[in-house]
Amino acid sequence: MAATSFFGRYEFFIWRLHSLTGLFPIGAYLVVHLAVNASVLSGPSTYQKNVYQIHSLESLLPIVEWLFVFLPILFHAILGVIIIRTSRPNPYRYRYASNFRYTLQRATGIIAFAFIVWHVFQMHGWFHFRPWVEHVVEPLHGAQFKPYNAASTLGVALHSPLMLTLYAIGVLSCVYHFVNGLWTMGITWGIWTSAQGQRRATRLCAILGVGLALLTGGVLYGVATVDTDAAKKIEDQMYKSRVESKDIRPNPEKVAQ
């Protein structure tokens, strides 16, 4: 990278920002997101309540989404791809655990990228711009998630074993990438420096990773076991009462047909 180019001059700053965005907001979002989705385990109504809460941001929501979720992910992912392109992993030549973890960090980054692009398209559609949704997203079976029919549309979207498997791969990749990223961050920012400290951190991150993996399992189990018809009834009921109590405005785009 030429030292005189913008990227060259701010290389350090940009790479540190990359590291930081991995934790915040992306990592934080990941944890909260998995936790919210895990609430599907306590039944469609709890889950729906949580989703209402999120969507109470109303017209602010797209701004929040773009500012705190999409843009950071895009930044982190695009720079991540650039970084990956400049590196030459060599896990076969040097078979050390740390080198495998390093290589996996790159691989899971790419899987995560693909997964997130697809996942957000599938659930959310990327943009809530009518013509885009009508002409592009819907014909491609995107934006399947309807916030006011949260559990049931989610359940339908992830109905097949194939879907569940793809999700398991995608989400676990994100989880690995996140916890291993935390570990490398600790060195990058100089939190754990000694070999011993780094070993201890490895254990900590591994525990966090196992925790998040279990959470993922919980979410997928919860989603796979949703009784979609029953859930839809409950959600429709909740929608009606909230519209009546004027808690929300009616919004057909957020309801399932």
Binding site: M1, A2, A3, G8, R9, E11, F12, F13, W15, R16, I83, T86, S87, R88, P89, N90, R93, Y94, Y96, S98, N99, Y102, T103, Q105, W183, T184, G186, I187, T188, W189, G190, I191, W192, T193, S194, A195, G197, Q198
Partner: protein, 284 residues
């Protein structure tokens, strides 16, 4: 029973070496097989000496002797670094007996991967020395006149600094590092030596300094006198090609023959770099 008193009946008559050769920069590389008589306490350099002396392949073809670098033969100068059985290390301390235990059929030798090949196993590692220039890797003393002793240093500090200071710029750590890439910048026609060096150095300067360079920064920035110019080194650490390129693969610390705690240095340098960048930002 120890190695030195092993009985003399050698476990084998000869040793086979597969060597990746290249006649000059930019030329194609090719494998060649040599067989030399086995000798007790043999290492890869002594085997290569025999290869050079006989200059003949297994097929009986006379060839130019294999070129390689070495000097101290006791793993303290760093000259003889190459890939032995696929792994970067010093050839002089690669004991043939030990290698044959892991892989009995032959020993495979290849040049380092991250440096341009000059010939056969000889590579051009000037980039390492350029990195030391870029990092201000020296103490800013006033001069060489008699000015009394240096600053007092505690035993603990000395014991921390000494291992860092044993780096022989061998290049193992960078050769094994997936974040460190080959820069092969041949001289162009019509370019003067000065022009070429300037262009090449600029190229070096923009690319990763590697674990050994980061370690040098820590070494000098923890020395009482070195600290005086610590900021200069931190600036170099934050410059393009700086510490940010490290992706924590940690191969460096595993292959370093001097067992320098490189990843600790990387962590410490990371912390210093972070603090320095914030300071720079806010003190402006």
């Amino acid at each position: 029973m120890d190695a030195a008193s092993k009985p003399d009946n050698p476990p084998r008559a000869d040793v086979t070496l597969r060597i990746l050769r290249q006649d000059g920069p930019g030329q194609a590389s090719y494998w060649e097989t040599h067989r030399v008589p086995y000798e007790r306490e043999m290492n890869v350099v002594s085997a290569l000496q025999k290869v050079a002396a006989q200059a003949k392949t297994v097929e009986g073809q006379n060839v130019a002797p294999v070129a390689w670098d070495c000097n101290c033969l006791e793993e303290v100068c760093g000259a003889c670094t190459m890939l032995v059985n696929g792994r970067v290390r010093q050839a002089c301390s690669a004991l043939v007996d030990r290698l044959l235990e892991d892989r009995p059929d032959c020993i495979e030798l290849a040049p380092m991967q991250k440096f341009p090949v000059v010939r056969d196993l000889v590579v051009d590692r000037s980039r390492l020395f350029r990195t030391l220039q870029k990092l201000n890797a020296w103490l800013p003393v006033d001069g060489y006149y008699d000015m009394g002793r240096g600053p007092l240093v505690s035993r603990e500090e000395q014991e921390k600094a000494y291992p860092l200071s044993t780096c022989m710029a061998c290049g193992c750590c960078v050769d094994a590092c997936p974040q460190y890439n080959l820069i092969d910048e041949p001289r162009q026609d019509g370019e003067s030596e000065e022009e070429y060096l300037a262009r090449r150095n600029a190229q070096f300067d923009e690319n990763f300094i590697g674990a050994f360079g980061i370690n040098q920064v820590v070494l000098f920035n923890t020395h009482p006198t070195g600290r005086h110019t610590g900021k200069l080194r931190l600036e170099a650490l934050l410059a393009p090609g700086g510490i940010q390129h490290c992706g924590n693969a940690q191969n460096c610390v595993r292959v370093c023959p001097k067992e320098i705690p490189l990843t600790t240095s990387i962590g410490q340098a990371g912390r210093a770099a972070t603090i320095h960048s914030l300071q720079r930002w806010f003190d402006r």
